[in-house]
Assembly symmetry: C2
Homo-oligomer: 413 residues x 2
């Protein structure tokens, strides 16, 4: 329902919700929506749906008009979805039931914070609203640690998760340097390698790990992987590897599946890749069995990387907050629907925000552009570092090492 730009006089309630996996800054967006919406006289109340669309279906709303500004500010600084989340993907019937509830409560503005599945949910609801002649505004606010939304330069949630991954690999590299061997770190990312690629951002000295980075954008060859690890290990005496959980073989089968039959699927038909250490362990076995290296370890970052308490990019938090505020301003001042997007007009670094039709974002997946991946398909380029660094925010820690000279050996007498 793209309508001419004039202020919305539509009186009613605002509903805000969150869908999909949490991030470290997702609450910034719902707090942005809530605080901004409370300023408009057309808004009779601001409701938060508990557990996303499922909360709408179940008529499970919190009255955020009754929440203190001070507590909202504190919730904004807390990771994971304060309104709780859902993996439900509404169909026509699900949406029809939601509308009955929305109408009953006079919901006229809907803001849904989520990834491409959530954008698709907003699109379906919006089409339903239009087809049933129910006037309301619906805006999707992006978030995802995978950074895989179309149109956007980057997505809220990514910068903080990237910072966690970079800091984690800084530590793993130092640990592996102290007690050498092969260390495989498995990072989230089903189709897009952005988060895994961030592992490179903690490197400071030339020979520091991760020495190898494998992304879902490139076919993963076991033989090539073993040859790479062997080469690095022979040269450096150690090897740190970053692997996306979603790496696939030449038949587009996730490696976890091709290495081992693994059955659980979620409601969206996706194989479960997170919440298990299996891929890392299988890769470690591969190295151990084929290269005869004794000390081989695998660490799977799991849910720590998207909800860790205390590692947040201030820039990421700021942008997530602004998107929430701007979504409300767009609905109110411009009376439009759509998906909020972040663009980067210059690389060194500024953003502009915009609103695009939901169909441009819904259900679509963006992956790493070719110029961010090295030719060998086992690392990232400086262009990627340049892209990613500002997203991780200020105060990024730096590692330091001893540079004292070696003591000459004394001849045995």
């Amino acid at each position: 329902m793209q309508t001419p730009r004039r202020m919305s006089r539509l009186e009613g309630k605002v509903l805000v919700a969150q869908g999909g996996g949490p991030t470290a800054v997702i609450n910034q967006s719902i707090v942005g929506v809530t605080l901004e919406a409370r300023k408009f006289t057309q808004v009779k109340a601001v409701y938060g749906a508990v557990h996303g669309v499922r909360g709408i279906l179940n008529e499970d709303f919190l009255d955020l008009t009754r929440e203190t500004t001070h507590n909202l500010e504190r919730v904004a600084d807390t990771p994971s979805s304060a309104l709780l989340s859902t993996r439900d993907k509404p169909d026509e019937e699900y949406c029809a039931r939601m509308f009955k509830v929305m109408r009953r409560h006079d919901i006229r503005y809907f803001f849904y914070v989520g990834g491409n599945d959530s954008a698709d949910t907003v699109r379906i609801i919006n089409e339903q609203a239009e087809s049933t002649g129910y006037e309301f505004r619906a805006i999707h606010i992006p978030k995802t640690v995978d950074n895989d939304l179309a149109v956007n330069d980057h997505c809220p949630g990514y910068g903080s998760a990237a910072r966690f991954v970079a800091q984690a690999f800084m530590g793993l590299n130092l640990d592996n340097r102290a007690l050498p061997g092969v260390l495989v770190g498995v990072v989230m990312g089903r189709h897009a390698g952005f988060l895994t690629a961030a592992a490179a951002l903690g490197r400071k000295y030339v020979e520091e790990g991760p020495h190898l980075i494998y992304l879902p954008e490139r076919v993963f060859s076991k033989e090539r992987f073993l040859a790479d690890v062997d080469r690095v290990y022979r040269a450096c005496g150690r090897c740190v590897v970053a692997v996306s959980e979603g790496v696939q073989d030449e038949t587009h089968t996730p490696l976890l599946v091709s290495l081992r039959d693994h059955k659980e699927h979620d409601a969206h038909g996706n194989v479960q890749l997170s919440g298990t250490g299996m891929l890392g362990d299988l890769l470690a076995d591969l190295v151990r069995d084929n290269l005869k290296i004794k000390r081989v370890r695998a660490d799977t970052f799991g849910y720590l990387q998207r909800s860790f308490m205390g590692v947040v990019s201030d820039r990421d938090a700021h942008e997530a907050r602004e998107l929430g505020e701007l979504a409300v301003q767009s609905a109110m001042w411009d009376n439009v629907d759509g998906s909020m997007v972040i663009r980067r007009p210059v690389l060194n670094y500024s953003v502009t925000y915009g609103l695009v039709p939901l169909s441009e974002v819904a259900g679509k997946t963006r992956t790493m552009p070719a110029e961010f991946i090295n030719e060998e398909g086992n690392g990232v380029t400086d262009a990627f570092s340049h892209y990613c660094r500002p997203l991780m925010g200020s105060g990024f820690p730096e590692s330091h090492r001893l540079r004292a000279p070696h003591v000459p050996k004394i001849e045995e007498t």
Copy 2:
């Protein structure tokens, strides 16, 4: 070689090294040793052995007298062992070879930062020195994320790792609340459950996870575990579990071994427990198969918990630094050997440092006292929280949640 308290006039070089697993603050101790040792005129140079005792054997020393104070301060703030580490456990012959090197370089003061294996290494070297009539001072400086050294109230390295574990579980709990299910987090700890117990320190609200904590100090019963998870899940609709990697069944077999034959042993004859997600995955399978719960996930913290860049307890860092300085002062002013220890004269909170004979610490393991573990053996007590909280340092993050009232449901008309 406990000798009368008089200042050491022994001229020669200082050697400092690190052994065993790294920690976030271990470099504070070597920097404390280096900066303090450089003040004494008896000290002709301060050497750092690269890769612990192995560096001594290989005559691989850095001349820390040639390192800038400013860089040392930055290295102190960097996690993991800047002098690199080793798992070697010297025997008599190994020690004899080390002494040849030490004598050649006129090493007269030896400071070794490590756990109970490293303390034992210092003890062996010290006995060797005495039996061969070589005059020198040797002091062990404690560090271990496991917090399992005898005599000590707590060990440097533990507070920072505990903070990481607590912050990680704060995030995992919030994530699990947003998308409910069962989440098992596996934490380091072979014999002592201190680090796993720290998972409880992030809890703020009554029903927050971890709801269950399993420690190596109590026999792990699969049946009991399943009954516990089932009870919590039925009551809360979700369940977060913290498990030590070292939990054992009634036959004292590590659960990882009893659940699956797993062969790799390290040089100390220990089964490899870290660097694999297997225990978590096996426990998740146990829950999935027996309780018919669909969403079951396991996260294994792995090496992140001991070397993560950017999560440090300031108190931990301070104490690690002081122990390094005091070790040198003890050797110089008091001319004694031993193991530095931390004691806590009052619970609310202060420490005193001391020096005890190496035999009191070497090779010994301290586990969680009974008053820190609840009666059911599946959680910790307030006494433990009171013990652990100050060790995690200042500025510990706090989570916040929405407290807005629920909107009354509207009757369908």
